[in-house]
C-alpha cells in the first residue's frame, strides 16, 4: 500500500528567489500533520504548490487515488480539487457577497452533473440535484454550527465564523486531503479550543488527512501527530512534536544562533 501523498524534490523559484527548495514529504492516510516555520519560510508557497495555485519549478507531487498513483504537480487547481484536495486560505477568501449557504454550494460543484442547458431549461435533473445540494450544504453548516446563519452574507459573519465557514466550504468538496492555512490565526483561546474540537471531529467523521500551517505552537503540538519544519524554503526537521521540539536546528531557526 503506497502512501496517500508523496512529494519529491519539490522546488519553486520566483525569479532568483528560491521560495521552496527540494522538499520531500510522505503523508499517510488519516494523518494529522503540522507544517511550521518562521515567517517567510515558504509554508504558504508549499500549500500553493500542492493545490495548484503555483506550478512547481521542479519536483513531483504524487497522490494515491483509488489505489492508483497520479501525478498532480502542475495541474490546475480545479483539477487537483477534483482528486479530493481541499484547502482554506490564510487571508480568508470567502465569496463575500454570497450567502453562507451559497458559499458551501459553490464548493459542491464537482458533484453536480447537470449542465448549463439543464439549468436554462430547468430539466428534472436540475430540481433533483439542487434539492440534494441544498440538503447536503445545510448538513455541513450544521456540522460547523453555522446553520442558523445560512442566509446571511458571508462578509457579515464575525471573523471566527468566517474561518469556520471556510472549513465547511472545504468539506463540501468531499476531500481526502484538507489543507488548513493558519486556521487559528486571530482567534481567542476559546475559539481556538473550539476549532481544535472541530478539527478532530471532521477528521474522524470524514476520514480526512489534514495538513495544517499554524503559528499557535500549543495548538500544533497538541493535535498534530507529525510535524514538518520549514525554514528558508527547506525542510529542516520532521517528526513527532517531541522530536521536533528538541531538534537543535528547529531551536536555532526559531530562536536564533546565540542560544
Amino acid at each position: 500500500m503506497s502512501s496517500l501523498l508523496e512529494v519529491k524534490g519539490l522546488t519553486k523559484n520566483f525569479g532568483g528567489l528560491c521560495a521552496v527548495s527540494n522538499v520531500n514529504m510522505t503523508i499517510e492516510k488519516g494523518e494529522l500533520i503540522g507544517l511550521i516555520g518562521p515567517n517567510g519560510a515558504g509554508k504558504t508557497t508549499l500549500f500553493n504548490l500542492l493545490t495548484g495555485v503555483y506550478e512547481p519549478s521542479e519536483g513531483l507531487i504524487e497522490m494515491t487515488k483509488d489505489g492508483k498513483k497520479v501525478s498532480i504537480g502542475g495541474l490546475k487547481p480545479y483539477k487537483i480539487t477534483a482528486y479530493g484536495v481541499a484547502r482554506t486560505f490564510q487571508n480568508i477568501r470567502l465569496f463575500k457577497s454570497m450567502t453562507v449557504l451559497e458559499n458551501v454550494k459553490v464548493a459542491m460543484h464537482k458533484n453536480i452533473r447537470y449542465g448549463i442547458l439543464s439549468a436554462i431549461f430547468r430539466t428534472p435533473s436540475y430540481y433533483t440535484e439542487e434539492k440534494w445540494v441544498e440538503e447536503k450544504a445545510c448538513e455541513l453548516l450544521e456540522e460547523v454550527g453555522l446553520y442558523g446563519k445560512r442566509h446571511e452574507m458571508a462578509t457579515n459573519l464575525p471573523y471566527g465564523e468566517q474561518r469556520r465557514l471556510e472549513i465547511a466550504r472545504a468539506l463540501a468538496i468531499q476531500p481526502e486531503i484538507l489543507y488548513l492555512d493558519e486556521p487559528a490565526a486571530g482567534m481567542n483561546p476559546q475559539e481556538t479550543a473550539d476549532l481544535t474540537q472541530l478539527i478532530y471531529k471532521i477528521r474522524d467523521k470524514y476520514n480526512l488527512t489534514i495538513i495544517l500551517i499554524e503559528h499557535d505552537m500549543s495548538l500544533v503540538m497538541s493535535i498534530c501527530e507529525r510535524i514538518y519544519v520549514l525554514n528558508y524554503g527547506k525542510l529542516i526537521a520532521s517528526g513527532t512534536p517531541d522530536e521536533v521540539k528538541n531538534d537543535p536546528f528547529v531551536i536555532k531557526a526559531y530562536l536564533g544562533e546565540e542560544i
Binding site: 520566483f14 504558504t44 500553493n48 495555485v53
Partner: protein
C-alpha cells in the same frame, strides 16, 4: 526601399505624438492602477486651448504649447481630485467606469461649447520639406520628434533624479509603505496627473499641427492607440511608452502605405490583443503576481 524609409519617417512623427500621450497613461497606471480613459480627451482639450490662443490672441507655437500644457495640467489635477480621488480604493472597474464618465463629460461639453464641426488648425510651424538622401523630411516632423525627445528626457530626469520623482516611484511600489515613510501620497498622485496631462497638452498642439484639423471627439481613438502603445511598451515604463508609441505609429503608417487605410485602426487593436496574449506585461514591463 525609399518608400519604406519614407514611411518610417512619417510613422515616427505620428508615433512621437502617441508616445507623449502614452506617457500619461503609463504614469497614472503605474501609480494608481487606473486606465485613465479620459486622458485622450485631455489632449483634445489641449489642442483646443492652443487653437483658441493662437487664433484669438495670435500667439506663436511655443507660447501656445506652454498655455496648453498649463491648462491640461490643471485639468488633469482637477479631474483627479474630483472624480478619481474618492475612488482610490474602489475596484479597478469602478475607477475605469468613472474615467469613461469623465471622458464623456469632457467630449460633449467641448462639443456643446465649441460646436461639433471640424476646426482648421492655423499653420504654426513653418513647413518646408527637404531631402535626406531620397527621403523627404519636413521641418514639422523634425519639430515633433525633437520636442518629444526633449520632453522624454525631462520626464526621465524628474522621475529618476528629483525628490518628487523618488516619491512617485515609492508610491507606485507600495502606497501604504510610502505613506508611512512620510510621503504625501495625495500630492504625489496629483503631481503625476499634472505631469501626464501637461505632456498630453504638448501632444494636443502637435496633433493639431500634424493633422491640420481638430474636433471635440478626436480624443478617443488616438487616446486608445496611445494606451495600446503604453501596454505594448510595458505599462509603467517611460522608455516603454516611447518604444510603444513609435512602434504603433510606424505600424499604422505602414498599413496605410502598403495595405488599406480602412484597416489602420484594426491593426492597432490586433497588436493589442496579440501583445496581451503573448506578453501581457509588455516589452519592458514587470510581471505582477497576486499574493495568495
Amino acid at each position: 526601399m525609399t518608400q519604406f524609409l519614407q514611411q518610417i519617417v512619417n510613422g515616427m512623427s505620428l508615433g512621437s505624438i502617441y508616445a507623449l500621450i502614452a506617457l500619461g497613461y503609463t504614469m497614472v497606471y503605474g501609480i494608481i492602477k487606473l486606465i485613465n480613459f479620459a486622458h485622450g480627451d485631455i489632449y483634445m482639450l489641449g489642442s483646443f486651448v492652443a487653437y483658441i490662443v493662437t487664433t484669438k490672441l495670435g500667439v506663436g507655437f511655443f507660447p501656445a504649447m506652454i498655455g496648453s500644457m498649463v491648462f491640461c495640467g490643471i485639468m488633469g489635477v482637477l479631474i483627479e481630485r474630483v472624480a478619481y480621488k474618492p475612488l482610490r480604493h474602489a475596484t479597478r472597474i469602478s475607477a475605469l467606469i468613472t474615467a469613461m464618465g469623465v471622458s464623456y463629460i469632457l467630449e460633449y461639453t467641448t462639443q456643446l461649447v465649441m460646436g461639433s464641426e471640424k476646426k482648421t488648425y492655423p499653420v504654426l510651424l513653418n513647413n518646408s520639406t527637404f531631402q535626406i538622401g531620397s527621403v523627404k523630411v519636413s521641418t514639422q516632423q523634425i519639430y515633433i520628434l525633437v520636442i518629444t525627445i526633449v520632453m522624454m528626457i525631462v520626464l526621465q530626469y524628474i522621475i529618476r533624479h528629483t525628490k518628487m520623482g523618488r516619491a512617485m516611484r515609492a508610491v507606485s511600489v507600495d502606497e501604504n509603505a510610502a505613506k508611512l515613510m512620510g510621503i504625501n501620497v495625495d500630492t504625489v498622485i496629483s503631481f503625476t496627473f499634472l505631469l501626464g496631462s501637461a505632456l498630453a497638452g504638448v501632444a494636443g498642439i502637435l496633433v493639431g499641427v500634424y493633422y491640420n484639423s481638430i474636433n471635440p471627439l478626436m480624443g478617443m481613438t488616438p487616446g486608445l492607440k496611445a494606451f495600446i502603445a503604453a501596454v505594448f511598451g510595458g505599462i509603467g515604463s517611460v522608455p516603454g511608452a516611447m518604444i510603444g508609441g513609435l512602434f504603433i505609429g510606424i505600424a499604422e503608417t505602414m498599413v496605410i502605405a502598403y495595405g488599406s487605410s480602412l484597416y489602420k485602426d484594426a491593426i492597432v487593436y490586433v497588436i493589442l490583443i496579440l501583445i496581451l496574449i503573448i506578453k501581457p506585461e509588455g516589452l519592458l514591463g514587470k510581471n505582477e503576481r497576486e499574493k495568495v
